[in-house]
Amino acid sequence: MRRRRRSGTLMPARTEVPDGTIHDDGRTVLDARDVSRALTRISHEILERNRGAESLVLLGIHTRGVPLAQRIAEKIQAVEGTPVDVGTLDVTMYRDDLRSHPTRAPHHTQMPAGGVDGKVVVLVDDVLFSGRTIRAALDAVADLGRPDVVRLAVLVDRGHRELPIRADHVGKNLPSARTERVGVRLAEIDGIDEVRISGGGS
């Protein structure tokens, strides 16, 4: 189903550090152009699957799903010429590991004016890993209304699911060891677009 497996994007470990914050042994797996291309493809896939932008609602999951949803919405608007509803979703209160971490203030959940009832909701997140965030997001959406369909778009799927959850649209499948860290950095938050993988010791 996901025919376009990207190849040749693995780059050697980085020696140059633009802002001096990266100092791990990691490597960049997606650079800014790769991220942009992946989001363009996801946008087209969403449109294809939905047969247009009709009743689409993109919900970005905090933190990095939020700018991703915004970018996908812009790309869809560029293709279709009509604006797409975008919202933000915070799943803090719905997490199953609340008890194991000190509490933190939730981010803002912002629903589009039209709500999600009867809509085609596409959840957008940066990395799909255990699936627990998406489980929480599904519960959160259920409390906000009753969409007709809920789909999932992620920039990176790194495997290791702990729940029966799968993404509908994936920017890049990134097989990884559990011990490795996959870091998504986005211009809106981190000043640069890239996906890096590091750690794991292999």
Binding site: M93, Y94, L98, R99, S100, T103, P106, H108, D143
Partner: protein, 314 residues
């Protein structure tokens, strides 16, 4: 954030910001069709009230329920406390049932503090005698911030019975921490002893003359309730004289900036400390305070109870 919320002193500026940020999200939940968050699912909270209360207790009850906690209300009237059980036995008994948090109101100053020392679970002070009422101060400051934007440098007048007011004692700390300038106004008989030194220390102003303070056009006015149950000491000759000197009358309402929020912790004595015109004025924040009360209490319960209870000792 500390384990218990007994006094505003338990909170740092960062804690207050986190509580407000969370409360803002909780406020949104109040307007949803499904008013429920699962954060305290499987947790049990007891509201133990040794004093009468309607809004504080129901507000804590709603807050706990909207976070999916099981909430049990125990009021001292009709409970074992009225049969002569000691405070310690009462709280140890209810916590022995296996609860995750205790919200407590008691007529004795320091009661919540004492109880917190006996228990492993978080204790929230919902008013202890003439000492503190931290969630009230938080919701007042939260309401004012929503109305005024920042509280930095804003002038807030707190008017009424200061001697007996825990609301005032918590508010003075909370507002100061958020950068507001506070002037407290009361008749000399209702000024706590030694307030001058305290005011100098904490940096708030005091006055016996409400009109003089209102002439400075404060950014907000907070009226305190005349606690009729505590007014047997002859603090003022008649209710009428209190109103003339310290009530927010129609005439004084006209002296306020039109958009200056008017707060009252409730229950209001209409016609005594606050005229109906002021209570129902467009700038009145009284009902906002009530709705903010639920959001703030959800925020407090979430931060105190949802995380790991590190204090648990076997």
């Amino acid at each position: 954030m500390k384990k218990h919320l007994l006094s505003i002193d338990d909170l740092s500026r960062d804690d207050i910001e986190a509580l407000f940020e969370t409360a803002a999200e909780m406020h949104d939940v109040q307007h949803r069709s499904v008013k429920k968050l699962p954060a305290l699912r499987g947790r049990t909270v007891i509201n133990l009230f040794f004093e009468d209360s309607t809004r504080t207790r129901s507000s804590f009850e709603i807050a706990g329920k909207w976070l999916s906690a099981d909430v049990i209300n125990i009021s001292a009237k009709g409970s074992s406390a009225s049969k002569g059980e000691s405070l310690r036995d009462t709280v140890l008994t209810v916590t022995a049932m296996g609860i995750d948090g205790l919200v407590m109101r008691h007529g004795a100053s320091g009661a919540a503090h004492q109880v917190a020392g006996w228990l492993d679970v978080p204790v929230v002070n919902a008013g202890d005698g003439m000492h503190e009422h931290p969630t009230q101060a938080l919701l007042d400051a939260y309401t004012l911030r929503r109305r005024l934007g920042s509280l930095e440098g804003r002038h807030v007048a707190i008017v009424g019975d200061l001697t007996h007011s825990r609301v005032f004692r918590s508010n003075i700390k909370c507002l100061a921490m958020l950068g507001a300038r506070v002037t407290v106004v009361a008749p000399p008989t209702l000024m706590p002893a030694g307030i001058d030194a305290w005011a100098k220390d904490a940096g708030f102003g005091t006055s016996w003359d409400l009109d003089e303070v209102l002439a400075e056009e404060p950014d907000a006015v907070m009226m305190l309730r005349v606690q009729r149950e505590r007014m047997s000491g002859g603090y003022f000759p008649t209710a009428r004289e209190y109103t003339v000197g310290y009530g927010l009358t129609r005439e004084r309402l006209a002296m306020l900036k039109p958009d200056a929020p008017i707060c009252h912790p409730g229950p209001m004595n209409r016609g005594l400390e606050i005229a109906p015109e002021a209570a129902d004025a467009a700038a009145s924040a009284v009902l906002d305070q009530v709705s903010a009360g639920v959001a703030i209490r959800m925020s407090v319960l979430y931060h105190l109870i949802a995380g790991p209870n590190e204090g648990v000792t076997p």
